[in-house]
């Protein structure tokens, strides 16, 4: 099957909060829920950076600027669907049921304990694009089991240069796997701009090349992302195969707490993207609809901050609980004798050193 190349960026909600297309038909509670998740994401991200600066958290990848994309890609998912992401999808993870404390544990350097096949979320993947073949494999397993489920895979613009991204899309196209790939094109791969990753105008051009449709949407417009993902999920569920959606967004912060974007990024760029902030435009829209006012916004923010505070306290309280026994138990299902001996030796040594 031949698909045509996407040539423009689909937008439903402008940076001024005006509609220029049909928004998804959603009840007011859900529209407010989107807002709450976006606010939660930004507050979580800022708090994680602050905790890292205070020496209470490990390296963290802030998500500021990508809140609409993260909400829009997770919201249309259904119970049986799987989310397979990289490391900047905290909001999507939370929306799929991963507790905040789990991501704190993982970024804090502890063994995360709340992932499981039951959560239908793969653990954070830090090696770029490695998650893509996993996403395809899960989608192929769903297909083999004749289920009407699908996988949403998330990847950044830089990672689309990796072999695994291209091998995985080729697999997905060939097997017609129920996979929706969302490329969060935030413009930067640490210090390398998007134009140094590919000479193609859009990353989504890769879609037609692999026998699947490719779409480009405004990633700071939660409606545009939601609608595209919803349609592609429906297509996947109907056995029509995979698709790729490139969402154009902007990484407003650093790559991680370990770098300083002022060293490599033109200063006017951030100023140019500030008015396109996904939360600002969605706030204006909700205010126009009469769903949000100052009091309501303050309530939501207070609620989110309280929720976050509980998670931080739990994370810090549970920290001493992880010991080396757990480490050895996780290498294999049944610990081989030499590993058991190494465990005992290490525990004896640690006890002596205390």
């Amino acid at each position: 099957m031949t698909f045509s190349l996407p040539t423009s960026i689909t937008q439903i909600l402008t940076p001024d909060g005006k509609l220029v297309g049909d928004p998804p038909e959603l009840p007011p509670e859900q529209l407010l829920e989107f807002y709450r998740w976006m606010v939660l994401g930004r507050i979580f991200s800022n708090r994680m950076v602050a905790l890292q600066r205070q020496g209470r958290m490990g390296t963290f990848a802030p998500l500021n600027g990508q809140e609409a994309a993260s909400v829009g890609l997770a919201a249309p998912m259904q119970d049986g669907d799987w989310l397979v992401g990289g490391y900047r999808e905290a909001i999507s993870f939370f929306m799929r049921g991963i507790p905040m404390v789990t991501l704190m544990e993982q970024w804090g350097g502890y063994i995360p304990i709340s992932y499981s096949p039951a959560t239908k979320v793969m653990p954070i993947q830090v090696v770029l694009a490695s998650q893509m073949p996993h996403a395809v494999g899960i989608a192929m397993a769903m297909q083999y089991k004749k289920e009407r489920n699908a996988v949403v895979a998330v990847i950044g613009d830089g990672a689309t240069s990796e072999g695994d991204f291209n091998e995985a899309l080729n697999f997905a196209g060939t097997f017609k796997a129920p996979l929706v790939t969302v490329v969060q094109n935030n413009g930067w791969a640490i210090s390398v701009p998007r134009e140094k990753q590919t000479a193609a105008e859009y990353i989504a051009h890769r879609g037609p090349a692999f026998g699947m449709p490719g779409y480009v949407v405004d990633g700071n417009d939660v409606f545009a992302v939601y609608s595209a993902v919803e349609q592609c999920l429906e297509r996947a569920r109907n056995g029509e195969g995979p698709s790729i959606i490139e969402v154009i967004t902007y990484r407003m912060g650093a790559h991680t707490t370990a770098d300083d974007p002022t060293k490599y990024r033109p200063s006017d760029e951030l100023a140019e993207w500030k008015p396109k902030d996904p939360i600002t435009r969605y706030t204006s829209y909700l205010r126009t609809l009469g769903l949000l006012d100052d009091a309501k916004a303050a309530d939501i923010e207070a609620e989110v901050r309280a929720e976050l505070q509980i998670a931080v306290e739990r994370y810090e309280a549970e920290r001493p609980a992880q010991r080396v026994e757990k480490y050895f138990d996780l290498v294999y299902n049944d610990t081989p004798p030499q590993l058991a001996r190494q465990r005992d030796e290490l525990i004896r040594a640690l006890n002596r050193e205390q």
Binding site: W82, V84, I111, P112, I113, S114, Y115, S116, P117, M122, P123, V127, S130, M132, P133, H134, A135, V136, G137, I138, A139, M140, A141, M142, Y144, G163, D164, E167, A168, N170, F171, T174, D329, L330, V331, Y332, N333, P336, P337, Q338, L339
Partner: protein, 326 residues
Amino acid sequence: MPKWTMVKAINNALDLKLAQDPNVLIFGEDVGKNGGVFRVTDGLQAKFGEERVFDTPLAESAIIGSAVGMATYGLRPVPEIQFAGFTYLAFHQIVAQAARLHFRSGGTIDMAMVIRAPFGGGVRTPELHADSVEALYMQAQGLKVVIPATPYDAKGLLIAAIEDPDPVLFLEHMKLYRSFRQEVPAEHYTVPIGKAAIAREGSDISVIAYGAMVQASVKAAEMVEQKLGASVEVLDLRTIAPLDEEAIVNSVSKTGRAIVVQEGPRAGGVAAEVIAVINEQALYSLYKPVLRVTSPDGPYPFTVMEDDILPSLDRIAAAIETTLEP
């Protein structure tokens, strides 16, 4: 009892597991209609259908990576990499993904999968088809590495590998595929992973080997016995990771002398690890230093030279004789 080659024994193990467990899927390059370049999967697609046994695009990383996804979803994928030298293209997915997801997920996700790949020298394959890759994968914590030396063990170990909740790299020596037949039960049985076997009992020296070097060591042992009247034990490791340290220590403690034979290059190899185990746990049983018979530390050569670099019967026998000297 039927007498089967290793190819037939492996094919039969796959056949049995496909029939027993609907979660078992076989895929890779040319494994479908063609039945694999060595005919290991011959007839399986015809019997079980294209949903269970299928060809994939030629992409080793995606073959292993998609198996990781399937295992996450509860299937038991048995992907084939056409030659072990091609696993270099999937190294990341094997070492950093399949081997580590159990750990990374806090023990909640099992990577029940078996990666099958032919390897080994002496059969005149083009470059990079014959590499002994096992030492590289010994350092992939969380992965098990199994190398059978006989048709009986190949079937029992493969069934055990498919039933194992952890990922297994199952390396099949090409030279052993059809080199000899052995009685193999047609029904389901397992050979335990992580357990070595005494291929030939003896009391004067232990020759520790695996894969095609087991047969070579047994032949060399016979040569030395005839010449010197010494009693030579050959220990077949069968599993490279995790090593059966107990069996190694028991054999060496009994004989007091040992050599290790491996087809791969010397430095940082399986033999080095075996000798470290002997050093730590059985040094005072030894009368002589433990020698290694290996390929040199160079790339696997083009075919004309391969018989020169592989451990020969004479070299194995000479190492045994040297170690037997008082």
